[in-house]
């Protein structure tokens, strides 16, 4: 294919972007679509963040000051759905679109029209989802996990929620098929699998996870739909069904989903740390194997989300041991990153700051995850703020920080301009301080006995909740700095060199900055 495009080099008609807004509607260019995904994700980040601030405002003091408890539940539900499906996943797909073809020396994604469609489904899916907040009865309020039978109560907005989840799923599966097809078919000659950058590897494995589990989610929510509207009883004991079966099916999707949200982050961090340590990644092969092991283990640990549902002892034992095993490959990754830094020649530009922030705080979240794996202790932790603290530590300074690190790292390549280093660093420090003010106290109130998903609480939790709410507003508003830095960089700034970073290694740094509309129409030579 690369050879073919080289022969037809004389057609200039598809060498630049189409003029006007139709460029964005009809585009099949991986860079344009990557940009669309990333901007979409940024918008959703503020919508989901606004919901979090409503939650934290209500929780600032004990007593109900502002919202009805039903609306509060709807906020926790929507905040999760938006952040997971609307922010982290699209941002990773956007990064994959931008970077994977350039990293493997391919001219574009393998299936460009499918790529356009995968993106343009998303805004409509989220319009559908968010519109439920304005319907009679309000949006979904049974938690993002949509546990039956609770999710079956409530208004008819439920059907819209299910359809929007189906649309997001279709978009994700198509995006994943495209990524797998691209990685298998579009690599430059000589780019063997074990020469691919870790970001490409982690996305390849993530894409397989998505293709495997999104249909499981689709099946589960379709069963909810038929239980609600067509009289089936999949999840109703009165009709011979089982509410716990829903949880098993959901978490069979849900646990791999957790790794879908973090594996691409591992790839990003594995690109950034070597660059700023000026030293090759330590243990490349073991990184690949560790990623694959995590992906495999993610399929056999799902019931650790359900230790209180009353499983047989043998089941609880199995899921405890299997869950603990995950810390081995995850540990290997953390140790490899530190060994990469060891005896390097480090500088701490903004991408590296975010990568180091990731490393420290993701590890904290990983360690609390290990605590949660111990079943008898989990009986006490389950469904408390300790769990909320845990998964926010792995998702915010984990997934979100990796996306921000990636943005700062590759933005000079995307725009051709250096971002404002001073404001980038300010963004990092302000975010990091507020983030810990926000999430660290949640460990305390959780251990002391505060359940999650409650709009009001007892006096003993008042102080730390007030602290967390202050952190939330600080963290939320400090993200405006990020928007400022991104917009400023898009408009201009110091011109970036082709290599951008002194220690950078990889094909994306061999093309000019900004990256031309079409890159690697002739495949590059791979050393």
């Amino acid at each position: 294919m690369s050879a073919a495009s080289a022969e037809h080099h004389d057609h200039d008609d598809h060498h630049g972007p189409a003029p006007g807004w139709t460029r964005w509607l009809y585009t099949t260019n991986h860079k344009d679509i990557g940009t669309l995904y990333l901007l979409f994700s940024l918008v959703m980040f503020f919508i989901g963040g606004g919901m979090a601030l409503i939650i934290r405002a209500e929780l600032f003091q004990p007593g109900l000051q502002m919202v009805d408890p039903l609306f509060f539940n709807s906020m926790t539900t929507m905040h999760a759905l938006v952040m997971i499906f609307g922010v982290v996943m699209p941002a990773f797909v956007g990064l994959a679109n931008w970077m994977i073809p350039m990293m493997i020396g391919g001219p574009d994604m393998a299936l460009p029209r499918l790529n356009n469609w995968s993106f343009w489904i998303m805004p409509f899916a989220f319009l559908l989802l968010l519109s439920t907040l304005f319907m009679e009865g309000g949006g979904p309020a049974g938690g993002w996990t949509l546990y039956a039978p609770l999710s079956l109560q409530g208004g008819d907005s439920f059907a819209f929620v299910i359809f929007s989840i189906h649309f997001m799923g279709i978009s994700s599966v198509m995006g994943s098929i495209n990524i797998v097809a691209t990685i298998f078919n579009m690599r430059a000659p000589g780019m063997s699998l074990m020469k691919m950058p870790l970001f490409v590897w982690t996305w390849l494995i993530t894409a397989f996870l998505l293709i495997a589990v999104i249909p499981v989610l689709a099946g589960a929510v379709t069963m909810l739909l038929t239980d609600r509207y067509f009289g089936t009883s999949f999840f109703s004991a009165a009709g011979g069904g089982d509410p716990v079966m829903y949880q098993h099916i959901f978490w069979f999707f849900g646990h791999p989903e957790v790794y879908i949200l973090i594996l691409p982050a591992f790839g990003i961090i594995s690109s950034i740390i070597p660059t700023f340590a000026r030293k090759p990644l330590f243990g490349y092969a073991s990184m690949v194997y560790a990623t694959a092991s995590i992906a495999f283990l993610s399929f056999i640990v799902w019931a650790h989300h359900m230790f209180t549902v009353g499983m047989p002892l043998a089941g609880e034992m199995f899921f405890m041991f299997a869950t603990m095993m995950i810390s081995v490959p995850t540990g290997v990754k953390v140790f490899n990153w530190i060994a990469t830094m060891w005896r390097g020649s480090m500088t701490l530009e903004t991408p590296m700051l975010f990568a180091v922030g990731f490393l420290v705080m993701f590890t904290i979240g990983g360690l609390s995850g290990l605590m949660l794996a111990i079943t008898p202790a989990d009986i006490q932790y389950h469904d408390t703020y300790f769990v909320v603290a845990h998964f926010h530590y792995v998702l915010v300074p984990g997934a979100i920080y990796s996306i921000m690190a990636a943005t700062y790292y590759w933005m000079p390549k995307w725009t051709g301009n250096m971002y404002d280093e001073k404001w980038g660093k300010i963004h990092f420090w302000v975010s990091t301080i507020f983030l810990n003010v926000l999430f660290f106290p949640m460990h305390f109130v959780g251990l002391a006995g505060m359940p999650r998903r409650i709009p009001d609480y007892s006096m003993q939790f008042a102080d730390w909740n007030a602290v967390a709410s202050i952190g939330a507003f600080g963290f939320g508003f400090s993200q405006l700095i990020f928007v400022y830095v991104v917009l400023k960089c898009m408009r201009g700034g110091e011109k970036a060199t082709d290599e951008v970073w002194e220690g950078a290694d990889g094909l994306e740094w061999t093309v000019p900055s900004p990256a031309p509309y079409h890159t690697f129409e002739t495949p590059p030579a791979i050393r």
């Binding site: 073991s286 609880e316 060891w342 008898p376």
Partner: protein
């Protein structure tokens, strides 16, 4: 140095204060299992701290020493099979060391055999029902009415004035000290989860299924907990309060509260009470009596969903004000409350409300919120259904 030592002092003060610790750590609890769980929790906590200190120590050392600004030259190594085998194997051994005590505790937790007292705990939206299977005592336990009034949006109440805000119920679960108590958990509607941290008991209440759990309380006292599985609008407002009494006091409590066998001791005080209740249900009630009683029942059982003003929440919970059912024939209105409405959040209240209470609340609904049907529903009509 001085800043560091000041922080250490501050930390020591914090740690030495018992109250501060209780607010940021898991309670030790009052059962053998809760103490084991606490021990496990602290063990893993310290192991994680040690791992964190080692990992972050090496990392920050490297970040300070191996800096370009300090003239560090990058080395070129990028793999070492020996090192990689070591840092795969060592964590594995740490995990095994953690798994063994955890498995032992888990096995003990799951052993519900030889219980001396059995309590069936049923979750309702949003209250608990307790049934003492050995003595036949059974009752509902909801958030204390004063707390319930204070927690409404716009109540204007200063909730910090309540000693145990949201942790007080109208009727406590009374348990004996020193006896193995078995809990059977189930639910009448959606999934709930019954949690008392001091007992290390947390189990989901699942409609149509029964889960088991147990506790052996070692010290008398009052232990408070919560529902921990999201169960709808008032999930945050269904506390659990357990009062553990020494065995003799517990037996006295059981004797006082157990329903008397009706035939053999027909003249005891308890059965006279039952008879009085029966008479209540049989006599003709006046409109104002029913309305006065009905308002209280409505605020306890109905207002969570249908709202204190009867307007409901559009799309989620129908309004009572102006509704066709509350303004329509008796049969449909009674059946809505007595049987419930399949496929919606409207549960059957047959078990939760007495004949008089149900008649009162039905009458209230027909003649409040601007509804002006003007008739009464008599307790005898409800009694006839049972």
């Amino acid at each position: 140095m001085s800043i560091g030592s000041r922080w250490l002092v501050a930390l020591a003060v914090l740690v030495s204060s018992q109250q501060a610790l209780a607010d940021i750590n898991m309670p030790v609890g009052v059962t053998p299992i809760s103490k084991e769980v606490y021990g496990l929790h602290m063990m893993i906590f310290w192991i994680c701290c040690a791992i964190g200190a080692a990992v972050f120590g090496v990392m920050f050392y490297s970040m300070f020493k191996h800096r370009k600004s300090k003239g560090a030259k990058a080395a070129d190594f990028h793999e070492s099979t020996t090192v990689e085998i070591i840092w795969t194997a060592v964590p594995l051994f740490i995990l095994i060391a953690m798994a063994i005590p955890a498995a032992k505790t888990l096995i003990a937790m799951e052993d519900t055999s030889d219980a001396e007292v059995t309590i069936k705990v049923t979750g309702y939206q949003w209250k608990w029902h307790y049934e003492y299977l050995d003595s036949g005592i059974s009752f509902f336990s909801s958030l204390h009415p004063e707390h319930n009034a204070a927690r409404q949006v716009g109540s204007g109440a200063d909730v910090s004035q309540f000693e145990n805000y949201l942790k007080e119920v109208d009727r406590e679960l009374v348990l004996p000290v020193g006896k193995k108590v078995r809990f059977l958990h189930t639910s009448a509607d959606v999934i709930h989860s019954w949690w008392v941290p001091a007992l290390a008991v947390k189990k989901d209440a699942i409609p149509g299924f029964i889960n088991e759990n147990w506790a052996l309380i070692e010290e008398p006292g009052v232990y408070r907990g919560k529902c921990t599985e999201l169960c709808g609008r008032d999930h945050g407002f269904m506390p659990v309060v357990v009062r553990a009494l020494p065995e003799d006091e517990y037996l006295a409590w059981v004797e006082e509260n157990a329903p008397a066998p009706a035939i053999t001791e027909a003249d005891t005080a308890a059965s006279q009470q039952v008879a009085a209740a029966d008479e209540d249900a049989d006599r003709e009630w006046a409109m104002d009596e029913l309305m006065a009683k009905g308002e209280g029942v409505y605020n306890t059982y109905c207002s969570s969903c249908h709202q204190a003003n009867g307007e409901g929440l559009a799309g989620a919970f129908p309004a009572i004000a102006g509704s066709a059912i509350a303004n329509g024939p008796h049969d449909a209105h009674i059946s809505t409350v007595y049987v419930g409405v399949a496929g919606t959040a409207m549960a059957s209240f047959a078990a939760q409300l007495s004949d008089v209470d149900m008649a009162a609340v039905l009458t209230y609904q027909r003649n409040a919120f601007g509804n002006t049907v003007g008739d009464t529903i008599q307790p005898s009509a409800i009694k006839a259904l049972r």
